[in-house]
Symmetry: D2
Subunit: 277 residues, 4 copies
């Protein structure tokens, strides 16, 4: 590229009068011809996705769209919708919570899966062997492997469905299947090491699918934001219709019971302050 | 419904062990079978969309995904990505800016279009007549009709494409076409009243398409958030790769020039304060 | 000012090597010599505050710093602190909720009080008369006067204290006392009109004090943000120490009970979709 | 404490009808009798601050209140103020950017200073010796010591003033002075190791002062948020008065020049997509 690069130079979008080019394509050519999931791939990766990638991405986006009010992000957005902010702010409030622990684990899971396959290939070892090594290290450091275990689901129906879709894509030669294998290996290794069944939850299965497509781990949380954004939008609207004002986290009787105070007993300011006018 | 409604009661999602139901459908049934755009419709409206609605919605979501760095939201997200926050927070920072003026005009445009068609039907008058009345009122009050006019595009290629897609959907009887007609009427009326060509921009054309599908105006900004979320994700990632730290709004030489100061000249505190230790 | 104004021109701050000037004062001269409350006045108003203004402002900032977990902002920040975001993001999440209904009513209250005093002076009528007119209008339109009524406090101890401090400042001639009189008049008028005791809550009393100091209404919510920021900081830290991860709005047993579902019963996709691979 | 602890149990605040207790003190007793800085100490630490702590804290809060538009947070808030969001959201938008790199370095600086003094005491070695060890380690790992170096200020006037205030507090026996000594030692060591003068900037000097007062490092970014919140409030208001709509990061002529595009040249969709209706 010969053109001088400006401060806001980008490889994503070029805008001229009557022309909006995204990754080289005119936006009107893309409309109606690439799906939302394909557009996400195009914008991040700079090229149109291979066959079936769009469908897998949209399956991931549909999968993680909502988990109900066990999600702090969903409840925060619903509460925000009753506080007199604009609709986008209510959505952004919940999205701002999807950090390293809530939504963000996908990034670390992707990094682990990429590392395992990468090392397996470089060291010429089976995936299972490297997975075992990594799991042992996590266990020793008393760290969780992100994406494993679930407080409610013994088997996560979203993982089951993603695995089935991945199987078909693998049969057609559209993905390698190595990352799904890796995610399964990690499950097996954790079971062998801890003796416990740790559900492969949506964070891990979504991570494996995105790895199959070569998506960079840093953007994993972006997929979660856009996925959960579906839920945040619907919940913000539903709550808005309730007409409530400043909705609290619990109904007032329960709240009274749960806003206990364990600080110091009532006390007076020291005399030199108390006598200030 | 006989069940007692809880504080966080919702019509959107029900979660049980190993089962996640959204609007009555099990999430794994939806994955791979409804697109992102259809899912958005389902979550907001409570039912699967009619034929072609999903495609129109995804066209809208693709259309408004990015406008480059003329968008304060895009630049804010890019700057946030260099400030040491988690990826989701960088996205939420930009999304938080898509308020009544930047992204939000779609809501008011939808309200106007719904009002025009509603009145035309109730009063048995042509759409054009009501549109003229509304435009005259806005003109008199020196208010802008949201969605009309563009600083760069004489003709917005996104509107042209949406109109073509809408035409096909109308031919197939999937939409009525009344709201596209309304958006065009408003353009004509504004031209007659002001003598100026005011480009039907993406805010107005997206608004018309969502009205064709019966989407509530309050959720319009949600569509913009999820659409622009594509751009925010891609831009956050691109900026992250630059390795910049605390990226400013301009390169430092320009910034020095533009951070002029027009406040009071240098001055000293009054003596009684200046002598404080 | 002769200097050309740049894009980011400001009357607030000028920065040169080794010199930071705020409203004309060097920052190191201000440090230790103006209080936080006085600094807030200086930055917004462009001049040092009159005697006692700093103390009144800090009293307002201390007054509204926390209301416990009845505040959606406080609970959202506490939940965010358990979600793996940076500390500032946890604070910003709660602050983002202090909108027109939660924290923001101070702005409308200030506008009403300024309008009443302004009209009383222009029309040469007593404050009480104009107040009665305004209250009647609100009552007729079935709107709330912001700042009146409280779900818990019959008498708001913060108002009582602010009134006492204002009384002393008035005696010394530092404030006029007209806005406190106005706030009281509105209370009286509402009582006469509705027959109900509507506690003068902190939104109204803080608004009256800020009006006494000539603060612009638009910035009222900024005072609330900086005040509540004290609580958000302390609560984010306390929750962070709990070590909880993804803290929900209720303990899990209660949550299960309260996340009821009132949407459609379980249903299957229509056959043409269900059979998609 | 015998009382059963609820889900939202806190040691910070207890609310009863007509009574708001913060850390055991009734809020109306605190109003007008503790400053904003003292209140921040009380809320975080659970006790009233020792003599002079409030003044030192307010000096820190005044010091870091603004750095003009070199701060991405300040420009983001100013842009947000022109996008049609509520005032609090404009402030929260900028605050959301004060992450690990922009505002957040204070936390890591506090951790380093606490570690140095702690080890010096435990190992019975001089502060300088431990500081040298730490600086060498950072140098070897090619990491920056947070709080040292400044693009504009050779000497940071805010540090000079904080050091002078700390000196007085030390003379009066109100602080130990060990953390100021540590911050100075780190400066000396970095100079010896790198041969470069690295300005002790406000992040490091504010960190040292907060360490002198025993403030937990995790809350350091909270002090920066509340400090910069002064600037965000003033800048949001100033920009709001400009009447601008969707203010961009640069004036339009410069923006056109700087929004260069370095992505792929204009291209067409592959035929199988291009022919989609």
């Amino acid at each position: 590229m010969e053109e001088k690069m400006g401060w806001w130079n980008t490889e994503i979008i070029g805008v001229k009068p009557n022309k909006i080019m995204i990754r080289g394509y005119q936006v009107q050519d893309l409309m109606g011809r690439v799906s939302y999931g394909e557009m996400l791939y195009l914008m991040i990766m700079g090229r149109l996705p291979p066959e079936s990638a769009g469908k897998l991405i949209e399956a991931v986006l549909v999968a993680a769209c909502d988990q109900g009010v066990v999600s702090p992000a969903i409840t925060a957005t619903r509460m925000a919708a009753t506080c007199g902010v604009t609709f986008n702010c209510a959505i952004a409030t919940g999205m701002n919570m999807l950090g390293k622990i809530h939504g963000g684990p996908i990034e670390e899971a992707m990094e682990i899966f990429y590392e395992i396959v990468d090392r397996a290939e470089k060291e010429g070892k089976p995936i299972k062997e490297i997975a075992h090594e990594i799991c042992t290290k996590y266990k020793e450091q008393k760290k969780f492997i992100p994406g494993y275990g679930h407080p409610v689901h013994k088997e996560d129906p979203r993982t089951t469905r993603l695995w089935a879709m991945a199987e078909k894509a693998k049969e057609k030669g559209e993905i390698s299947g190595k990352y799904v294998e890796t995610a399964d290996s990690v499950y097996q290794c954790m079971k062998e090491i801890t003796g416990r069944h740790l559900t492969i939850n949506i964070d891990a299965s979504a991570a494996a699918i995105l790895c199959e497509l070569g998506i960079p781990p840093e953007t994993g949380p972006g997929f979660i934001c856009l996925s959960r954004g579906l839920g945040l939008t619907a919940h913000a609207y539903e709550e808005l219709q309730s007409g409530k004002r400043m909705k609290a986290s619990m109904p007032s009787d329960l709240l009274s019971e749960h806003m206990t105070y364990s600080g110091p007993s009532e006390r007076e300011l020291p005399p030199e302050r108390k006598d200030l006018p």
